[in-house]
Amino acid sequence: MLHTVLDTPPVGETKAARDQTLAAYRLMLTARLLDDKYAALYRGGKIHGGVFLGRGQEALSVAIGISLKKTDIFAPLIRDAAGRLAFGETVVDAIRTYLGSALGPMRGRDGNVHRGRPLEGYLPMVSHLGAMISVVNGTLFARRLKGVSGTVGATCLGDGATSTGAFHEALNQAAVEKLPLVLVVADNQYAYSTPTSRQFVCEDLADKASGYGVAAHSVDGTDLVACLKTAGEAVARARSGEGPQLIVARLLRLCGHGEHDDSHYIDPKLKTSPLGRDCLKVAEEFLLRQQWADSATLDGWRTEVVREIEDAVAQVRREPAPDPYDEKWQAISSRHLIELHDEDSGS
């Protein structure tokens, strides 16, 4: 059941492939520049809590996001700025969550990568690794029960998170229910500081697929074209009823675990290995080589995106912060069942 994209097949000069690749590149670029902006804001002390970047994972992330329809389900993880944008998240929503704007989807209640819009199929992660997969299963199961066909649900995970029991239970559950789940594992060589050798023993995480009876796809995560092909295929197979698809991409995290982390522990040999290639540069070179775009165009995009991000940040920074006095301190939706505690703090 193993489907490996070993080399980067020359993509036909079809307009569709070209358009998709260009669109994907622009989204990757936006994600990268957004990440750069978060990093700058973090250094400037403008962000509360952690900042988690997707540098080096944009190709994989955008590939899955762009392969989905708006009616699909997507539960991204911490390094999926690109996939989120591809699935339809706005730059403003992303920044609002990082800056804690009251107008953002999380209203300052949750922050940074913990954002989504569940009613739009865009699920907000909880921090507990592995926990989102079965939630995606549930949405897919529900669609089936409601008689809605053709939905695919995708979610992302790191190499480290494959060690969680939640991952195991959920992937097995998807297999048993034959759900159209696409599980994208970014094997970026580290879980925080922990190398994969302390995390698992199999050669390739794709080796796990046969034990679950699901299809596996291995891909070079630094290669946008390969990622687009693999993600497209996996999504198509899931959509056509072939059950869960496991995508394993090998790449290197090109940043710290979070912006507080200088990632000194990353093996220098990995950095200079093919895994250490920057997928954004690889994609750019590909576009130029194919003459699908010229440098001037790409520079122009960069300028546009930077402006878009700067404008968004400027806008969001003028937006109201959440106000504890206006806040509804209610964890349940059934108003008649809410207890007000005399001893509540604050105010």
Partner: protein, 321 residues
């Protein structure tokens, strides 16, 4: 006609499946087999495709329910025993319980926990763990003590828009019978005066209501009139009804089958002491299980949890002050 607590739970599920196409049930051995306790007997047959056997994966079971709830369905999850629900603890307290607050999208799931002690159940098939769920924001925790409540509260649990931990007492499954299912009921969040009395308020829930009632009967022979409050719901907790009862009796004993540190009895006494201090004529008291795992052997088990006799003994001490 006579119907047991267990049958009432089955009937409520059958009713919910019939009336609401959004309802489905997911749990281990609940399909063709009808569940370890037969709480879903024949439901897989009557509602094809909507009563599904789950793998032994409590974490994924709950996660799946949350996803289905996001899509507008109303899943019921059966845990085979309450004790195993802690394997899905993370999904319950961090996924289901936080969803509404984080996203404004409600999470209407019902998690059924066959809980509480029975003879020979032992440390891992007897636990009463309502308190750990009630401690987390975002969950409703229900503990029906009667056949009628088992039925009506389960229906209401499925109908409301929040995650409900539905604690069904295994000892009551077969021991408790009623003549018929109720046509109307107190709403969730309201406690019930199970027996009126003027000398002492005993607050209890689930199986302990019956121990309290037995103690009250015993004490009435001695001339005492015990008021028994059946909480029905431990979160939300109906402080008003408790306070009104204590206002009448001036004396309070709280009884719970779970462990002594924290829990329902502590919460009630803390509330009454801080909000109704003046109503108390004597110190409020609590009676809980002992602070050890639940023992296997019936000799030990009967000494581990509060019994009618122990309740009566505690009550006498309070009444004599």
């Amino acid at each position: 006609m006579s119907i047991t607590y267990l049958e009432a739970i089955r009937e409520a599920q059958s009713h919910a499946l019939r009336d609401d196409p959004r309802v489905f049930i997911y749990g281990q051995d609940i399909g063709a087999f009808g569940g370890a306790f037969k709480a879903t007997k024949n439901l897989a047959r009557d509602f094809p495709g909507r009563v599904l056997d789950a793998p032994i994966s409590e974490d994924a079971m709950v996660g799946m329910a949350v996803g289905a709830a996001i899509e507008g369905l109303r899943p019921i999850i059966e845990m085979q025993f309450a004790d195993f629900s802690v394997v899905g603890f993370n999904q319950i307290v961090n996924q289901a319980a936080t969803l509404f607050w984080r996203t404004n999208v409600p999470c209407p799931i019902t998690i059924r926990l066959p809980f509480g002690g029975t003879e020979g159940g032992g440390p891992f098939h007897s636990q009463s763990i309502e308190a750990i769920y009630a401690h987390y924001p975002g969950l409703i925790v229900l503990t029906p003590a009667t056949v009628e409540d088992a039925y009506s509260m389960l229906l209401e649990a499925v109908a409301i828009d929040d995650p409900v931990i539905f604690c069904e007492h295994k000892f009551l499954y077969y021991h408790l019978k009623a003549d018929a299912l109720p046509s109307e009921a107190l709403p969730i969040g309201k406690a019930r005066i199970a027996r009126e009395g003027r000398d002492l308020t005993v607050v209890a829930y689930s199986a302990m209501v019956h121990e309290a009632l037995a103690a009250a009967a015993e004490l009435s022979a001695e001339g005492w009139e015990i008021e028994v409050v059946d909480l029905r719901s431990v979160k939300p907790l109906d402080t008003d009804t408790i306070m009104a009862s204590v206002a009448r009796t001036g004396r309070l004993l709280c009884v719970g089958e779970s462990w002594p540190w924290g829990g329902v009895t502590a919460e009630i006494i803390a509330r009454v002491a801080s909000e109704g201090f003046g109503l108390l004529d004597v110190p409020p008291q609590r009676l809980n299980a002992r602070d050890t795992p639940v023992p296997y052997h019936p000799n030990l088990w009967m000494a581990h949890r509060p019994t009618a006799r122990a309740i009566a003994a505690s009550a006498r001490k309070i009444l004599r002050r």
